[in-house]
């Protein structure tokens, strides 16, 4: 059963999209991530124009993250104040990102920047995750004690001006680092169509020193707000959000995510992180491949003609 996507202007197989949504949803539930970094490359490979893939994926991430946020809120694992501060930065970042993306699209460089961002960010983050978690796995094998994250000394940037109390995270820190973190992730959500959880979670643990119990819920809350703003801006400025595409992916995604979340209880966190790190690394390298391999055709039609 083929469905015509009104904004992407291509026909796709609807059950295939739903199944794809379910598969990526399963992986996101399993690893506790948004899944945008996986879905955007797959959509691009399927022939969806990258601008449409990026914008519709922001919309899809909004929907798929909402149900997780609700689940985390029940467990009181969301720091709404911290999430709100980061989302304020996220709004600024997504505004900047959408304008930059618009400009790149008109220059015919959108594809390049999408591939390059995937290559740089995913390869680095994937390699870091993989080495950190493999180290943990090896140490466990040898029966050594696991390294514990340092919480003893607070970094200097916590004492910058505009300090604020975050009771749930048990922090009293300047709002500047979380706002800047939000700005960065907002830019990425506009350019890469990702929620940015893969950057937010480690940054919140190692830079903001938030307790691990509230990190995932808070990052998802921030992601919902930032991607919601991004998709409104993408629709308003670039007209690239395909609501049919996003909805089909959501239908499969929300179901897959629930099963993934149940299965995740059975694995050790460091094993999951190692597998996730490997996937992130491979996706990054795959997207970067297009920059290195000699293109089949030396010419390419750029969008934004009419």
């Amino acid at each position: 059963m083929d469905v015509y996507l009104p904004i992407a202007e291509i026909s796709v197989n609807a059950p295939l999209l739903v199944a794809l949504g379910a598969a990526v949803g399963f992986i996101s539930g399993l690893f506790g991530i948004g899944g945008g970094f996986l879905m955007t490359p797959v959509l691009v490979l399927m022939g969806v124009p990258s601008a449409v893939a990026v914008a519709s994926e922001a919309n899809h991430v909004t929907g798929s993250s909402v149900s997780s946020v609700i689940a985390y809120r029940r467990r009181r694992a969301v720091d709404f104040r911290m999430g709100g501060v980061m989302a304020a930065g996220g709004a600024i970042g997504s505004f900047m990102g959408v304008e930059v993306f618009r400009w790149l699209r008109l220059l015919g460089q959108a594809d390049l920047v999408v591939s390059l961002s995937y290559l740089v960010f995913l390869s680095i983050i994937g390699a870091l995750m993989l080495s950190e978690s493999l180290g943990q796995v090896l140490r466990r094998r040898r029966g050594e004690a696991l390294t514990r994250p340092l919480r003893a000394r607070r970094p200097g940037w916590h004492r910058l001006p505009w300090r604020m109390r975050f009771p749930r995270s048990r922090l009293y820190i300047s709002v500047i680092p979380p706002v800047l973190l939000g700005v960065g992730v907002g830019v990425l959500s506009a350019i890469m169509g990702v929620g940015g959880g893969f950057i937010l979670v480690p940054a919140m643990i190692y830079l903001l020193r938030m307790p691990a119990s509230v990190v995932v819920g808070t990052s998802l809350f921030q992601i919902v707000i930032t991607t919601a703003i991004t998709s409104v801006l993408q629709a308003g400025r670039n007209q690239t959000v395909d609501v049919v595409l996003a909805t089909l992916l959501l239908v499969g995604g929300v179901v897959g995510a629930q099963f993934g979340a149940r299965l995740s209880m059975r694995f050790r966190p460091e094993t999951l992180r190692a597998v996730l790190g490997l996937i992130v690394l491979l996706v990054g390298l795959r997207m970067g491949l297009s920059l290195i391999v000699r293109p089949e055709d030396m010419f390419q039609l750029a969008p934004g003609g009419s």
Partner: protein, 261 residues
Amino acid sequence: MGVALPPPPPAPVVLAPPPARVSAALTDTRIQVSSDFRGARIVLYGAVFDPERARHDVVVVVRGPEEPVRIVRKVRIAGLWLNTPPEVFRGAPGYYMAASNRPLAEVTGFAWRRRLRLGVDNIALEQEAQRTETLYGVEGVLVSPLEEDYFDFRRAVVRLKQREGLYAADSDAVRFVDEGLFRADIALPAAAPTGRYEADIHLFRDGRPVALRTRTLTVEKVGLERFLYILAHERPWTYGVVSVLLALTAGWTASAVFRRR
């Protein structure tokens, strides 16, 4: 379209036959793009009226709405394949199909093909930055800042559009089904742009155009697709807010459903 037809023959002295005429009609003048759109087939029927019953050739050119084409070239910089800034071509049809009963080169010569813009090599493509100059005493010479690369770009535009099924020439698409009665089958891919299309039916005799008919058809989105497309382009902010609300509702519903289980 300003097509120069040969002047009518001199006033008949004796009983000279009237000139040949061509008549044609489309089976559908509205092509509707809905959620199950996988492309369409345009069927055109026509008849040649010629008292002399000479052998004629028919060329049907279907052109979609004009839209500028932006094309980039890959260049290798520091080991990475990057895009050059786009070159813009104006006046390019969004869809182009030249259907004929035999290869265009057999129907008529190069001069007529170029003048009547028959065949994918003769599609009007004007580069935005090009200008006309007088060179070596020849007036109206087109000068492109791309210089000799211009032809590479032009060929690339045609090649890329052909790959998407948007530009094509088919020398089997027009068939004479009965004496003087012909039928043209034209494939419209799913990627075909929406808007007003023109079908020019050229009648050739001995390599010279003798008659022309023009028919129009509309390709339009209908149903939900039309509604969403129009909303997305005319009320983009409303569309954005609605799509986010839809995503939020879907996520919330899913969480409510799975909690109950």
